[in-house]
């Protein structure tokens, strides 16, 4: 009953905007966790929040949920300023990294907690029906009466999700929800998270430290570093056109070279190459994707950028092989070979090879934009 009326209020409010952070700043002692973060999310959107540990991504969730007060800035939710609203009056779902299930309650009692003890308790029959439907939806039928210490990690993840979603929130915050699962389960839960979200039509804000997870899950990827948002875009925008050397580094798909950009040429350890376009950045960096690098015999003829490096080791990744090379100045370069493009070359350990690439495919960051 209250769920429907809440959904009704929703339509009255702005239709596209679910939440908006305006210049949110949060400090823990001397540490600046969030530095003027502004972010807007629409209804029915899947946003991945990507960043290294300590970048402030969990703090964004905690500020949104109301567990932390921002030192500066405002938080809006469904068109309302909720900066000062206590957490239990916000109606924003939160899925914890360690699931945070109530250890003394059964699966069914965990799922029913919010509807029983929340702001607007439902009558028993409505509550039971909604909980049963939710438990079935996340595939926990038959486990209702188990204690939460008697089920597996993946099942606990589902309980945590069901407990939050049964409240029918318009926004769910997920704090590294797949971090505690093994790789196999992680893959399966990714699909389920997406399909559950599509069924419910809610906005997910998913925090993750894994670039593959962020790119795979999000309709939109927000990259965070040192408490600032450094890029926002669709997964392919972020992947193909990282906005800064930090994003490129964090995506873990690029070999990065320091050097100097001047007058339309970039001078790095691979020689001097002409640059057609450069992105504005605080330092001069030349980035080449792992799978764009070609390996040639050490004495092969070449034109364009080329770099001599010793082969160190290779790693088999199933669909591709990652080869590691070491340059004379001890930088490790990675070269990815997709197995669909043919059998891999084999390289001799400690032997010199020539690494080269098409300069058109490189991404250049610089203080001057050519």
């Amino acid at each position: 009953m209250s769920g429907e009326s809440r959904a009704g209020d929703m339509n009255m409010a702005t239709e596209t905007e679910i939440f908006r952070l305006d210049g949110v700043t949060k400090r823990y002692g001397d540490v600046l966790a969030l530095d003027g973060v502004s972010l807007t999310a629409g209804a029915n959107e899947y946003i991945s929040l990507l960043g290294p540990s300590g970048s402030g991504k969990t703090t964004i969730l905690r500020v949104l949920a109301g567990f932390e007060m921002p030192d500066m800035g405002r938080v809006h939710f469904q068109g309302r300023d909720i900066t000062a609203l206590p957490a239990h009056e916000r109606g924003i779902g939160f899925v914890f990294q360690n699931f945070a299930l109530f250890p003394h309650l059964t699966v069914a009692q965990n799922v029913a907690f919010g509807l029983t003890h929340g702001a607007a308790p439902l009558p028993q029959s409505d509550r039971d029906a909604r909980c049963r439907a939710m438990i079935a939806m996340v595939g926990l039928d038959g486990l209702q009466d188990r204690g939460v210490d008697q089920i597996s990690g993946g099942q606990r993840q589902r309980v945590a999700l069901a407990r939050t979603l049964v409240m029918q929130p318009r926004l769910v915050l997920l704090d590294e929800p797949l971090g505690a699962l093994d790789a196999n389960l992680r893959g399966r839960m990714r699909n389920e998270l997406r399909s559950i979200r599509e069924q419910m039509g809610v906005t997910f804000l998913h925090v993750t430290g894994s670039e593959t997870e962020a790119l795979a899950m999000g309709d939109r990827v927000v990259v965070l570093d040192s408490g600032r948002i450094i890029q926002t875009g669709t997964p392919d925008q972020v992947y193909d056109a990282p906005a800064s050397p930090e994003v490129a580094h964090f995506l873990n798909r690029f070999n990065l070279f320091d050097g100097t950009l001047s007058g339309g040429t970039f001078t790095g350890p691979f020689g001097t190459v002409p640059v057609r376009a450069a992105r504005k950045a605080a330092r001069d960096v030349y980035a080449v994707r792992y799978d764009r690098v070609q390996v040639k015999p050490a004495l092969a003829a070449h034109d364009g950028p080329a770099l001599r490096a010793k082969f160190v080791a290779s790693e088999y990744l199933g669909s591709s092989i990652m080869n590691f090379f070491e340059t004379p100045d001890h930088q490790v370069l990675e070269v990815e070979h997709h197995l669909s493009l043919g059998a891999p070359d084999t390289f001799e350990p400690r032997q010199d090879y020539l690494l080269t690439w098409n300069p058109e495919q490189a991404i250049v960051f610089g203080r001057e934009t050519a």
């Binding site: 957490a87 109606g91 939160f94 914890f96 109530f102 907690f113 003890h117 702001a119 407990r163």
Partner: protein, 290 residues
């Protein structure tokens, strides 16, 4: 050795050797003495002598005398009051130390402060209440100096009240410790999760925090109960002989060599404690919780 080849399932000799000292100790100094007390309670007591002729005389005497049954009820009453007070005072303290104080260091410091009174001897802690509560004691002097009262409050010392004050002060820490320990183990995310699901503080306390701390309450209640039920020193020192607990009866009876009656009271006290502990242990499954 070779002849004894059939493999018989048996406890390894190491296990037996490791168990032996504890078992021997407990049998010699716990099981046998208790059996002895039960046995002696049926002996025949004369004024200056005791003989092992079995009789129910001491038991009948206990239940026929208002003094003895009265002291049984006094013991139960004082025990319940102290249990209630240590819970009412101890739980909020533990809640603060174990849950609200975020820094682990600070909560350890606070717990140590709770334990500091135990660096002095038990009797000194009890007797220190006399200069505090007496007719010319600290509390009366201060209240009179502040002109809050004109006549000293006499009910403070050598009454049941002084016994209750003294015992509560001594035993409250045994409630604070276990409860604070259990509260400290609660994952803070669980409380945040409950808040996120819309529960206010009252709901979170009664549905999450209190149930999860219940094992601590039970352990604390067992500590307090065992110690209060066996008490005789505090009531002896602070009641002016007005409050006679079962413990005081035992001391007096042993003092006047009435071994049979002392044994009767001892058996009653032991059985009562056993029932109380068994009752508390039914509330939670401690093996699972700790």
């Amino acid at each position: 050795m070779m002849a004894d080849a059939t493999p018989t399932p048996r406890i390894s000799s190491t296990t037996l050797w490791l168990l032996a000292p504890g078992v021997i100790w407990m049998v010699l100094f716990l099981v046998l003495p208790i059996l002895m007390i039960v046995y002696v309670s049926f002996w025949t007591q004369t004024t200056f002598n005791i003989s092992p002729t079995p009789t129910l005389a001491s038991w009948k005497q206990f239940f026929a005398s208002d003094t003895y049954t009265g002291s049984l009820w006094t013991t139960v009453r004082i025990w319940l009051i102290i249990l209630g007070l240590t819970f009412v005072i101890g739980y909020p303290t533990a809640l603060y130390v174990g849950l609200f104080v975020k820094s682990k260091t600070l909560s350890t410091v606070l717990l140590v402060i709770c334990v500091i009174p135990f660096w002095t001897s038990f009797l000194i802690r009890v007797l220190a209440w006399r200069p505090m509560l007496g007719k010319e004691g600290a509390i009366n002097i201060i209240l009179q100096k502040l002109r809050i009262i004109s006549q000293p409050i006499e009910v403070l010392l050598f009454t049941e009240l002084s016994v209750i004050i003294g015992m509560t002060q001594i035993y409250v820490v045994f409630m604070v410790g276990p409860v604070a320990f259990m509260l400290g183990r609660i994952d803070r995310n669980i409380i945040e999760a409950a808040r996120d699901l819309g529960a206010g503080f009252g709901r979170i306390f009664w549905k999450i925090i209190f149930p999860l701390s219940l094992p601590g309450v039970v352990v604390g209640a067992i500590f307090v109960s065992v110690m209060v039920l066996g008490e005789f020193a505090t009531s002896g020192a602070l009641s002016g002989r007005k409050v006679n607990l079962l413990g005081n009866i035992i001391v007096t009876q042993v003092g006047s060599l009435k071994w049979a009656m002392a044994s009767v009271v001892g058996v009653i006290l032991t059985v009562f404690m056993g029932v109380v502990i068994a009752g508390f242990l039914r509330i939670v499954d401690l093996k699972r919780e700790l």
